[in-house]
Structures are given as structure tokens and as C-alpha cells.
Symmetry: C2
Subunit: 199 residues, 2 copies
């Protein structure tokens, strides 16, 4: 690969390191960026810098935000007493797209995975318990994935929350077992949300 | 798509605009960049800026370079009297990888395409003719693609160069008809280079 000038090799290298992108696609994209208008390339570079600089975690739900508290947590039109617990920000976005939920979210930023050394103190469970207290939550919908870890996390949370007296529900298994929430189609997600059952 | 904070939406948008990348992959890559170490993301952003800032065309061969004259044109070990004419920088790189050619290149930066209004004055033919004169070229290898436009360009150049007395060759049609040079495997390219015939 020493056939391009160094700045191009550096760019190919950076792009090829992204997940699911190899050297061939890296070469193709680097040459595209090289040919595209300067303003467009600058916008891409700036967007990358902006994301790293301005995105933080919402101090309430731990989703992604460019403000201390995110739009959903701040929105008075969202039901304040129903919390939907998900693994990752992308899972929250998938549920939002389905339009089946009008409450608020809590993003765990992970799942319990004893094999990988991820215990309850490594994900945002403490913060969830604090919120139930402060926000007078009436229902917690457990919308972690249906993978082994997702199921384990849901049943761990169910046990942990039982004594709080809050209604605990789990999204229905319209979601195929073993699936990753963010790749599920919106109709299935809507079904799962509607078919949730008490634990 | 109004479910992510604006800086993330901007980044997804920029990535999704790249050729062959859609919104789904844009989302996946944007979230990866968000999670990756800051130094890595900065390196990517900087690489994009560097490429736009430092890459220019070599003043001799019109390939990509970060200096006024590129490494290959400056390399005294390359045969100075054999020129390989290609459409694009990526085609040159494909031939370099095959290791079948030790001369120098001339990058046309396009092909003749009357349908798209690309005539002889829109690609670097004038500059090729000047080089033949200045560099005492003995052989010109026409290594444009085997698409209709590539073949047309090769035969146009062949006619145009005939009177110069230079030996004119065309890479052998080991390259499948309709193919794009930069995607051909190295063995086929090597065969095509070795099997070149006089026009």
C-alpha cells in the first residue's frame, strides 16, 4: 500500500479501522473525499470533532445529549412516571422510531455479563434506583435485548425492583430471541411494546 | 431521525452521504466514532483535513502527490522512456501493486466520452504530447480500461501518437471487457501487461 502519498495512506488507514470497513472500502472512500468539494470534506471533519466535543451523557437518563439534560427528559409532554430501561442509546432510538412509547428512558449503558466481568455496579442500575425514588415512577418497562445477557439483566432488575412496589413490565417476546434491539423492525417493536406483561 | 442530538445527526448525515454508505451504516459508524478514544477520532478528522490540504496533482504525470513532483516521476530507478497511460490514480496504484511495470505513468484524469461532453481537451492529452517531446519517450503503453470509453480513448491516442514515431502498445485483453481497471486482480493485470501488443 505504499503507492499513494502519505496523507492519503493515513486517511485510508483511519477509515479502514472503522468497524465493518476494510482497506478496499477505505481506499474508495478516501479517494471520494479527495475528489469531493473542500466544504463537504471540511464538514465531515468538523462533524467528527463536534461529536467528540459536544456529546455527553444526559445526567438523568444517561442517553446521548448535547446538553446537561436531554430533550426527552426535559419534554413536559412525555409521561413522567413511566420509565423504559434499555441497554444502549441506539436501542432508545429504535423504540422512538416505532412511536409506541411516550414516557421517558433510562439507558443502562450495558448489560450484565458475568463472563466479561460486567456486574451490577458497572452499569447504571444505582442511578435507576435513585430515579425511581425521586421521580415517583409508577411503571418500569424492561426493554433490554432478548439475548442471554439482556434476559439476565431484565430478571436481575425485576428482582431488585420488586420491593420498591413499582409496576415492572417486560416488552413482549415479539422480539425474536437472540436479537439485538436496534436492528428490529418498527412493527415488531410496536407489538412487543403493546404486548408487555407483568413480572 | 430526530432522535439523536444534533451533532450526532450531522455526523450520521455526513457519513451517509459517502458513496455506498447508507443511513444505517452512517448511524453505526457515528456511534462507533462517539465511543472510540478521542485521539482516534481526532486523527480521522485531521486525516481528512490533511488530504484536502496537502494532496495536489504531480506536475509531470498528474497523479496524486503531496509534493510538486511525485515519488515515481522523481525515482531515477524507473525507466524514463516508457510511459504507461491510465485513466485515474487508482488505476496506477492497481498496476503498481501487480509489480509488472517499472516505467513511469501518465494519468489522463478521465476518458473520452462524447456522450458526457468529455472531449480530448478535457483530459490530459495535451500534457501527454508535451511529455513525449521533452522526455524522449520510446514507448507509450495505453492502459486505459476496456470499457467503451477506455477503448475509444486508447484508439484516439493511438491515432494521435502515430506520427510521433513512438512505439505504441495496448495492454492485452486479459482484462475482462467492461471491467474497471482498479478492481482487477494482480495476476490478470500482470498478464495484460506482459501480453501487450503493437498498435
Amino acid at each position: 500500500m505504499h503507492y499513494y502519498p502519505k496523507p492519503i495512506l493515513d486517511l485510508i488507514d483511519c477509515i479502514a479501522k472503522l468497524p465493518g470497513i476494510g482497506v478496499k472500502t477505505g481506499e474508495r472512500l478516501a479517494l471520494h473525499i479527495l475528489k469531493s468539494p473542500k466544504a463537504e470534506a471540511e464538514k465531515l471533519a468538523r462533524s467528527i470533532a463536534m461529536v467528540k466535543e459536544h456529546i455527553r451523557f444526559c445526567s438523568k437518563c444517561f442517553g446521548l445529549s448535547d446538553k446537561p439534560v436531554c430533550d426527552i427528559c426535559e419534554n413536559p409532554a412525555r409521561m413522567p412516571h413511566v420509565l423504559c430501561v434499555v441497554e444502549q442509546p441506539a436501542d432508545m432510538v429504535a423504540i422512538e422510531k416505532s412511536g409506541a412509547f411516550r414516557g421517558r428512558y433510562h439507558i443502562l449503558q450495558g448489560v450484565l455479563s458475568p463472563m466479561d466481568g460486567v456486574g451490577p455496579d458497572k452499569i447504571r442500575i444505582r442511578e435507576l434506583l435513585d430515579r425511581l425514588h425521586e421521580e415517583k415512577t409508577e411503571e418500569v418497562i424492561l426493554a433490554t435485548g432478548t439475548s442471554l445477557e439482556g434476559e439476565t439483566t431484565a430478571s436481575f432488575l425485576s428482582d431488585r425492583l420488586k420491593e420498591s412496589g413499582v409496576r415492572i413490565t417486560r416488552i413482549a417476546s415479539g422480539v425474536p430471541i437472540g436479537g439485538d434491539l436496534k436492528y428490529i423492525d418498527q412493527v415488531t417493536l410496536k407489538r412487543a411494546m403493546e404486548g408487555r406483561y407483568a413480572l
